[in-house]
């Protein structure tokens, strides 16, 4: 049946074209987002944005200096919690663990990874905010740190396991103890991967808003020390976007551009590091 065959070929060509259209639509969303943010954010961004405190409603100008510093402090705290726990936990899983313990730790990490971020916020609220009786940088950093742990842990473990067996055996054969092998051979061999894992985890929590709503809360002013409520870029975007003021909307676009720029740059750098690592010839 040549007409039948022609029909089947037409269907094949049509459906495959449609899949291409789907891919195009999906990817173009990224460029649409970027374009819109650059267009709106770019015109609203100024030196003041990085150096001034938020201005009162109606008074033009002002910036988000306190939110930028607040975000930096929150992310520093998060890294102090997330990176060590993820890193050493991964070393345990890949090098020292075995049997039931490994399974339980891995399972817990996967579970934690799937917990919606707003629920992490509730947890940090109960654990840190309630005992101290007020919102704080500490509580926000704790919530973000918690979210960094599973991502760092699981990917670091993967990269440690990827280190060739021959390297381990060579180190052991030279008489190195297990921990010396890990510290001087295995971790250095996997460091690109580990760095990528940490950077991706960092980029992931850098944009998190929900867990900060009732832990770090917000602040119109500078937040001294670590036990005061603090503003942060993501929360500022949220509050400014849903507020009814034209001025604030422009600030929200600018903050969005800064935040997304930061996150995309970290993502691209992380992937570049990994790609270079793979290209190194293994003899």
């Amino acid at each position: 049946m040549s007409s039948n065959l022609r029909w089947r070929k037409f269907v094949s060509g049509f459906m495959l074209t449609m899949t291409g259209v789907c891919a195009l639509v999906a990817v173009s969303v990224l460029f649409f987002i970027l374009g819109y943010l650059v267009f709106h954010g770019g015109t609203s961004i100024s030196w003041n944005f990085f150096t001034k405190l938020p201005a009162p409603v109606g008074e033009g100008g002002g910036g988000m200096a306190n939110a930028i510093v607040g975000s930096a402090k929150l992310l520093l705290l998060a890294s102090l919690i997330g990176v060590p726990v993820g890193f050493f936990g991964a070393i345990y899983l890949a090098e020292f663990g075995g049997g039931a313990t490994t399974f339980v730790v891995r399972y817990a990490a996967d579970l934690l990874n799937g917990v919606p971020s707003i629920v992490i916020g509730i947890f940090a609220y109960g654990l840190v905010v309630l005992p101290f009786k007020h919102f704080s940088t500490l509580a926000g950093g704790f919530a973000l740190g918690l979210m960094m742990i599973p991502v760092t842990l699981r990917s670091t473990e993967e990269f440690l396991r990827g280190v060739p067996r021959a390297l381990r055996e060579a180190a052991m054969a030279l008489g190195a103890s297990k921990w010396k092998t890990v510290a001087t051979v295995i971790v250095p061999a996997a460091y690109r991967g580990i760095l990528t894992a940490v950077l991706l985890a960092f980029a992931r929590v850098a944009g998190e808003t929900a867990p900060l709503l009732f832990t770090a809360f917000g602040n119109r002013f500078w937040s001294p020390g670590w036990d005061q409520p603090t503003s942060s870029l993501p929360v500022m975007i949220f509050t400014y976007a849903i507020a009814p003021y034209e001025d604030w909307h422009r600030q929200a676009w600018a903050a969005g551009l800064v935040l997304l720029g930061l996150i995309l740059v970290i993502n691209i750098v992380a992937r570049a590091i990994l790609a270079r690592g793979i290209a190194v010839p293994r003899s």
Binding site: V11, G114, P116, V119, F123, L127, K178, L213
Partner: protein, 306 residues
């Protein structure tokens, strides 16, 4: 093992154990933190739709409804688009094009939800109010789904924004699973005279069905737990309405909006119980998703080894 090894083992074990500890603590706290409403309302918490902080009446039905409807709308849009794109990336595109596009998809998955919310508020909502919702009303207005006043914000808008957010997850995982389908399968179908599309749709996709289902469950779990973007465009009203144009509220959005202003223990604990519900749902879905993906990938590698 030598002494140094014992110490290193112990130290790393403590860090690993802390992950388990924290997870247990999280479950314990959600459970402990929602004692009052669990005792007072029992199962009625999920069956009643009155959410009245003044009279201490808390029913979760509107939020469960809003969560399910928005996630449902998201999947209806995201599944065909995502799977279509994944098929293109895995079956049709040359490896270099596929990898480049996958790179962009990964970046898309990294865009924080508050940014999606920002674009939702200023682009999707006006678009919905001015064009899409009136158009739907004119063409499909006989369905109860597309009736009632048009606000721009609402369940449909939230669902669309969610769809945009979960598409990258569906594409990434489905592409991975499709690529793991053994080459023989495709060649066998082609050699029997099937067209490229027939071999893809009738052989490769069914082979990868489990993994694709896994990617959908994963996307569903994300959609159910997603907070910021939904909160910004859903309209925040605890109502149950057949119309998708109606404003609503999801579990995550009501927690985000009311947690800091909840006065009284029962109010706060009711919100925590909502958090517990959300936790349990995503826990089950994530577990199922992982199982499906692992089983399918193993099937693929087992076949190609044979």
């Amino acid at each position: 093992m030598r002494e140094g090894d014992e110490i290193a083992r112990l130290i790393t074990f403590l860090f690993a154990a802390s992950v388990v500890l924290v997870t247990l603590l999280l479950v314990f706290e959600l459970w402990q933190g929602s004692v009052l409403p669990r005792h007072k309302f029992g199962f009625n918490f999920f069956r009643t739709s009155v959410w009245d902080p003044i009279f201490d009446q808390f029913g979760a039905l509107p939020f469960i409804y809003g969560t399910l409807v928005t996630a449902g709308v998201a999947l209806v849009i995201a599944v065909p688009l995502g799977i279509g794109a994944a098929i293109f990336l895995a079956e049709l595109a040359p490896a270099r094009v596929s990898d480049t596009l996958e790179f962009f998809i990964d970046l898309l998955a990294a865009v924080p939800s508050v940014i999606y919310g920002l674009l939702g508020v200023f682009i999707v909502v006006p678009l919905m109010r001015e064009y899409i919702q009136p158009a739907l009303k004119n063409t499909l207005g006989f369905l109860p789904l597309f009736q009632g006043p048009v606000y721009g914000v609402g369940l449909l808008t939230a669902g669309i924004v969610l769809a945009i957010m979960v598409i990258p997850y569906i594409i990434s995982v489905s592409r991975e699973v499709l690529l793991s389908v053994p080459r023989d399968q495709r060649e066998a179908a082609l050699s029997l005279g099937s067209t490229h599309w027939e071999s893809t749709w009738k052989v490769v996709v069914p082979f990868a069905r489990g993994g694709i289902m896994g990617s959908i469950f994963l996307a569903l779990a994300r959609a159910l737990g997603e907070t910021m973007a939904v909160t910004m465009v859903i309209g925040n009203a605890p109502v149950i309405s057949a119309s998708l144009f109606s404003p609503g509220d999801s579990i995550a959005s009501v927690i985000a909006n009311q947690f800091t202003e909840a006065t009284g223990d029962l109010y706060l604990q009711s919100l925590i119980e909502l958090g517990l519900v959300l936790f349990l749902i995503t826990f089950i879905l994530n577990g199922l998703a992982r199982l499906l993906i692992v089983v399918t990938s193993q099937k693929g590698s087992a076949m190609s080894n044979a």
